[in-house]
Symmetry: C2
Subunit: 289 residues, 2 copies
């Protein structure tokens, strides 16, 4: 551990690559905030962190990182060694080797989730991180990434979740086939966030507010025979699509409803992170109040 | 223009730097989407684009970029020349030299804005871009960046707005002193988005929905003497703070109300882009319906 070229340093650095991660079932959390959240999860009873590597300076600035945690080895390293371990250009003096945190779809469904975000082939690590953070803030019960989505354990994706990866259950690499059906079987409605959707998110929010406020407003009542649309207060999984192409046809077709987030301005379309934020907060608001 | 080291190529590349930009009153838009939006603004009557540089391949793929626009010079260049001009690692074959698009605070206030986003010392280009895009999607009338915020014309910031920079009026480098007062004088309420705010965004949305749905719900009526809080349907400017430190004390103090975006999950705090999306959409919804 004494110099940047040492084998054990290289072993840590290799976790920036997918094959080393899957072989060892481990990944890297970089920076004080991510490491702090990983340690918090570990201390709360879910083994998460194996080793923490930190510079003296980082431990002086963030003394909570040096507090003991069961089974976690803390190693003090020089800035050179830390830089050699880390994927970031400006490492902030601390990285942790963590065990993979993802759970199975069965685990998630068994817990009767009320709000779920599904990333359908979202490829950009930054977008995945934004959606995971929005799901965390909105109090979602789980985030599911379908097969073909970004590897959430790549260092850029881990960084972009800013600790939220350690806050809520995440399911990775789920084949899309059967996913919608399994969610429905668990009592969860499947809504596609879709720029060309036929239901309007504002209208769904109005209908939900009217129910909550204790009366149906006549102008908002669906005409006879018209589908009133999904109820946001019910258990819901939102499907969010690929940043360049949106949801694929089979993803759209599998949903119970396709919901359009209104664009009021000149923007051609919503960024998937923005759309996810608006949809998840609309559901959270309808469900909590 | 024939080789990457030519003086005219270097002149374009220099626009990646702040001093060249301010000396020449010009900046670089990179990639087909940004250039397309710049040209659209130009064709709509606001001179925006001086020169477009594109490879043959980009023009084949995006023929609309080659359509003539008054006063715009189109130059075909080799991929090498284009790479030398561009700040991006993977240029997509087209850059445009644009005139600065920002307007004055007087211009914005004279147009009786109903929804304004104010970035108070937001430093990260990606966050500024996210907020500008969210403001565009929410139909905001203007975006104001205070003195000390990121330079929106730096290539990374321009890219992160994905064309929204050309959609709505932007005011740059505004000293914060007097800003809130000037907004109020123009009939615009100033709301601070603040994790420690005393008003709750959900409560404000409920009150707005109740007014819209035609009755005050008794449980939502403020107690006698209690401040009912700001009305989201009124003209509003939202203050969004620095990503690391939030709003400064003087920024908070200048607002009419400090509004908290609820965090339902384990996230410690909201990313400023997420908070801005939720606040701006809440206002847009209250104002439009």
């Amino acid at each position: 551990m004494s110099h940047p070229g040492a084998d054990r340093v290289k072993d840590v650095a290799r976790l920036a690559g997918r094959s080393a991660r899957s072989k060892r079932g481990a990944f890297l959390a970089e920076g004080p905030q991510a490491v702090r959240e990983a340690l918090r999860r570990h201390r709360a009873g879910t083994p998460t962190v194996d080793q923490v590597f930190a510079t003296d300076e980082a431990l002086t600035r963030h003394p909570e990182l040096a507090e003991p945690a069961d089974g976690v080895i803390l190693r003090r390293v020089t800035p050179d060694v830390l830089a050699a371990m880390s994927d970031t250009v400006t490492p902030q003096g601390v990285v942790a080797v963590c065990r993979m945190v993802d759970v199975t779809l069965d685990d998630v469904l068994a817990a009767s989730p009320r709000l779920v975000a599904v990333l359908c082939q979202v490829r950009d690590p930054g977008n995945a991180g934004t959606i995971l953070r929005a799901a965390d803030s909105a109090g979602a019960d789980a985030v599911i990434l379908t097969h073909g989505s970004v590897d959430l354990y790549n260092p850029k994706a881990v960084r972009s979740t800013v600790g939220s990866l350690f806050h809520l259950p995440v399911v990775l690499g789920v084949p899309f086939t059967d996913l919608a059906g399994r969610l429905r079987d668990a009592g969860v409605a499947v809504l596609a966030a879709d720029g060309y959707g036929t239901a309007d998110l504002d209208a769904l929010q109005d209908a939900s507010a009217a129910r909550r406020l204790g009366r149906a407003v006549s102008s908002m009542e669906p005409a006879a025979g018209e589908d009133p649309g999904p109820r946001l207060e019910n258990p819901t999984a939102w499907l969010f699509g690929n940043e360049a192409h949106g949801l694929a046809e089979d993803e759209r077709a599998a949903a119970d409803a396709r919901v359009r987030v209104p664009v009021y301005g000149a923007a051609e379309s919503l960024n998937v992170g923005t759309a996810a934020t608006v949809c998840l907060y609309a559901s959270a608001r309808a469900q909590r109040r």
